[in-house]
């Protein structure tokens, strides 16, 4: 008989975690994971799998936890998902696997994310991570090569450049690396991982874990090269000449601003800047680390996605009193539910149906307040969500030292400006076929630069699909 309630995941108390950047979720122990795994019905037609963007054999890996065979469990996970310790922590499981789990009908779904994370962390602790990593081929590629084993030798002489080391690039690199392809990953920043290192904060995804999963690539013979702005230090023409194929995974990157009056005031940040200063540059340890950040006493965060939650919770940890303003209602917030829940527990205030219209500065050009207007929900827009419309004469001012806009990103032109032949759509994202192939046959692309801002797992899925595409392209 299925147990209705989930085994809770140990977490740091809100009062403890508010003052530091330690990981909030402590993860299952083996005993807890084992208990939670036993709730799984091992469905013949597992709906959870259909909810997973990369189709992980979820009952399969859970069954091995029940049996206590964690190595096998890890092998299963790893053959579908190269970054399980990361995905277990950051995937929006409630709208994917867990959202599709049959147990939703009678109670709470299996905590698939926490189980995935547990198995991945265990693999690292026990040291079988690398060994399994080398051997786990993705299904698509295995099929491809199963028909023609000789082609594996051909692949070893091929060279592929991967531009960008976010989840899309890392996954493409790992898939190709496992086949013996010579892969060079180029990253513009001084750390690998893309949003995983500059965007998602330490308290949600410790950077040590990203580093661990990234370094595993080196055991596959993949060469990781940082500080290389492709398009500037290496011209696209040179890439096309030197490599047999190229994968572009440069992310969506460029922050949007609302463009309301006062955006140039000191104290107005994009979430990307705020988070990059905090995460990549470790401004939360200033002055031990050189990069400063302004927080002040009161911070207003604009937006309702993961980025907004990450910015709000980071500002809180830096000592500010934080208000999130979001123009729709809580139900429409795109952030992971767990993060909204955590943010509330930590004492962040939410003002729904509210939108800023102007930033107010003092005589020295420093932000002192955010003028907002109340909104109400009107008719549904093209996304099906009811469109927020301003309520006339409902303006009010929130005092603030810092405002952080987290209203989304757009196509990063940094590389694309140097790559004029590459076909893009009207939003500036790269156009590809289902295998990530672009208008230039030897150039493939995937992740946020193709879809616009999405998720880690979708970027990984795209990297994997493109690796398949590249293999096909290289051997035929």
């Amino acid at each position: 008989m299925a147990v209705k309630d989930r085994v809770p995941v140990p977490e740091l108390e809100p009062s403890v975690r508010k003052g530091n950047f330690l990981e909030v979720s402590q993860g299952y122990t083996f005993e807890l994971a084992h208990q939670e795994a036993q709730r799984c019905l091992q469905c013949k037609v597992p709906t959870c799998v259909s909810g997973c963007p990369v189709g992980i054999d979820i009952p399969g890996f859970i069954k091995e936890i029940i049996k206590g065979n964690l190595k096998k469990s890890y092998e299963i996970l790893k053959s579908y998902n190269y970054l399980p310790a990361i995905c277990g922590r950051v995937c929006p499981q409630e709208v994917q696997c867990e959202g599709a789990c049959v147990l939703n009908k009678i109670g709470k779904p299996i905590n698939i994310g926490a189980l995935e994370r547990f198995v991945a962390d265990f693999a690292s602790q026990e040291g079988f991570e690398d060994e399994v990593g080398r051997l786990s081929f993705s299904e698509g590629i295995s099929k491809e090569l199963g028909n023609a084993p000789r082609k594996l030798t051909d692949l070893r002489s091929k060279k592929v450049a991967v531009v960008g080391s976010g989840p899309a690039g890392l996954t493409a690199a790992s898939e190709l690396g496992k086949l013996g392809v010579q892969v060079h990953v180029y990253e513009a920043l001084h750390e690998f991982g893309g949003v995983l290192v500059y965007g998602i904060p330490e308290f949600r995804l410790p950077k040590e874990i990203v580093r661990r999963e990234v370094l595993q690539l080196e055991t596959l013979g993949v060469e990781l090269i940082k500080n290389i702005p492709v398009g500037y230090a290496i011209h696209p023409k040179e890439l096309l000449e030197k490599y047999d194929a190229v994968f572009i995974g440069v992310g969506a990157g460029t922050p949007k601003f609302m463009g309301i009056p006062g955006s140039e005031l000191n104290g107005v940040y994009s979430a990307n800047e705020f988070l990059t200063r905090v995460n990549l540059m470790k401004a939360y340890k200033f002055p031990e680390y050189d990069t400063p950040i302004k927080v002040g006493k009161r911070v207003v965060v604009v937006g309702g996605g993961n980025t907004a939650m990450d910015a709000a919770r980071s500002a809180l940890r830096l000592g500010a009193q934080v208000t999130v303003v979001y123009r729709r209602t809580e139900a429409e917030m795109p952030a992971r539910r767990a993060e909204i829940h955590h943010a509330k527990e930590e004492g962040i205030e939410f003002l729904f149906l509210t939108n800023p219209v102007r930033y107010i500065g003092n005589e020295t050009g420093k932000l002192v307040g955010v003028e907002c207007i109340r909104m109400e929900l009107g008719d549904p827009d093209e996304s099906g969500r009811r469109r927020p419309v301003p309520v006339a004469n409902s303006n009010f001012v929130i005092e603030a030292d810092v405002v952080i806009e987290a209203i989304g990103t757009e196509s990063n032109r940094f590389l694309l400006n140097q790559f004029p032949d590459l076909k893009t759509n009207k939003y500036g994202y790269i156009v590809t076929n289902e295998y990530g192939q672009t208008s230039i046959p030897k150039v493939f692309a995937g992740g946020d630069i193709v879809t616009g801002s999405a998720t880690v797992i979708l970027a990984m899925g795209a990297g994997k699909k493109a690796a398949e595409g590249i293999v096909k392209f290289l051997v035929y």
Binding site: H184, A188, L189, H190, Y198, E223, I225, K226, N227, I228, P229, Y232, A233, I234, H235, G251, G253, T254, P255, F257, G259, S263, E264, L265, N266, Y269, S270, N272, E273, T276, R277, L280, M281, K282, F286, P287, E288, Y289, D290, T291, P292, K294, T364, G365, N412, R413, F414, N417
Partner: protein, 290 residues
């Protein structure tokens, strides 16, 4: 990849008080850099990412000129030949628009002189008549003056009159305007200098390229911290646009830059910078020799 940069300092030379020239081993930057572009440097594992203009290149190395103004630039200026810099990324930014314009006036102030050197050379090679104005507080702070011998005319301005015209580059600029208006101007130096020269260029309706020294983080268009407000009048309506200095610049037509907010944004971290500096000085002691 064969050319992975080592970022070793090949040579170091003191040009003026607290101002140093470095040649750094980095083939990727050396081969790809064009006038107007910059690199971002981190001097240590805990360091800030600071942008510095590429002042020249040779086969496998490039040259920078750095003025020690705060923690990171002091730390950089204290490095010696043989040492390695932690991270260097570049070239970044859009290159200068080198073309044959006819008569070009080039103005450099402070370390901005290093930034205009490659631009001036390229403009000369493109067939322009090149007039150069260099400015400094006093003659001992004037740098690289000997390297401008290719210029059709070289004017020096010092605040104290210790060399050339007694006055700022703006005085020099007005004198040149009295002789003949240039077709286009480049002006690189401290923000107030770029602002002042831009105001004059605007009065005369002459395009003026300035290289904005905005505070940056990534330098790849990802954070928006380097943003600047560009304000243009078109058919009687004022159009305001947010531009990113690292990818849309660093050069902009100074006539359209909102200087007030730009200069204010440079002051954003004054208190923190002071704190970092004091802490650093406690560690390294007296640096008046720099």
């Amino acid at each position: 990849m064969s050319k992975i940069p080592k970022n070793t300092i090949l040579s170091k030379q003191r040009l003026a008080k607290a101002t140093y020239e470095f040649w750094i081993d980095n083939a990727l930057v050396a081969e790809n850099a064009k006038p107007g572009q910059f690199v971002i440097i981190r001097t240590s594992e805990k360091g800030e990412r600071i942008p510095i203009t590429i002042a020249d290149t040779q086969e496998n190395a490039f040259r920078i000129v750095v003025k020690a103004v705060g923690k990171s630039t002091i730390e950089l200026c204290m490095k010696n030949a043989g040492e390695q810099l932690y991270d260097i990324v570049g070239p970044l930014g859009k290159p200068s628009e080198i073309d044959c314009y006819g008569d070009v006036l080039i103005i450099g102030g402070g370390v901005g002189i290093a930034a205009i050197l490659p631009i001036a050379k390229a403009l000369k090679n493109a067939g322009n008549k090149v007039r150069v104005i260099l400015g400094a507080k006093t003659s001992t702070e004037l740098i690289l003056q000997d390297e401008f011998s290719f210029a059709d005319k070289l004017v020096i301005c010092t605040d104290d009159g210790s060399e050339g015209i007694k006055g700022t580059v703006v005085d020099g600029m007005m004198e040149e305007f009295n002789l003949e208006n240039p077709n286009v101007i480049w002006s690189v130096g401290p923000a107030p200098m770029m602002k002042a020269t831009s105001m004059i260029a605007a009065q005369y309706g002459i395009p003026i390229w300035v290289s904005l020294n905005a505070i940056m983080v990534d330098g790849t268009g990802m954070c928006g911290g380097c943003r600047v407000l560009i304000r243009k009048e078109e058919n009687g309506v004022t159009k305001e646009e947010i531009k990113y200095v690292c990818v849309d610049g660093p050069e902009f037509d100074g006539r359209y830059v909102d200087w007030e907010s730009f200069i204010r944004r440079l002051q954003q971290y004054k208190e923190e910078e002071q704190k970092a500096l004091e802490r650093f000085l406690e560690e390294v002691g007296d640096i008046s020799w720099l």
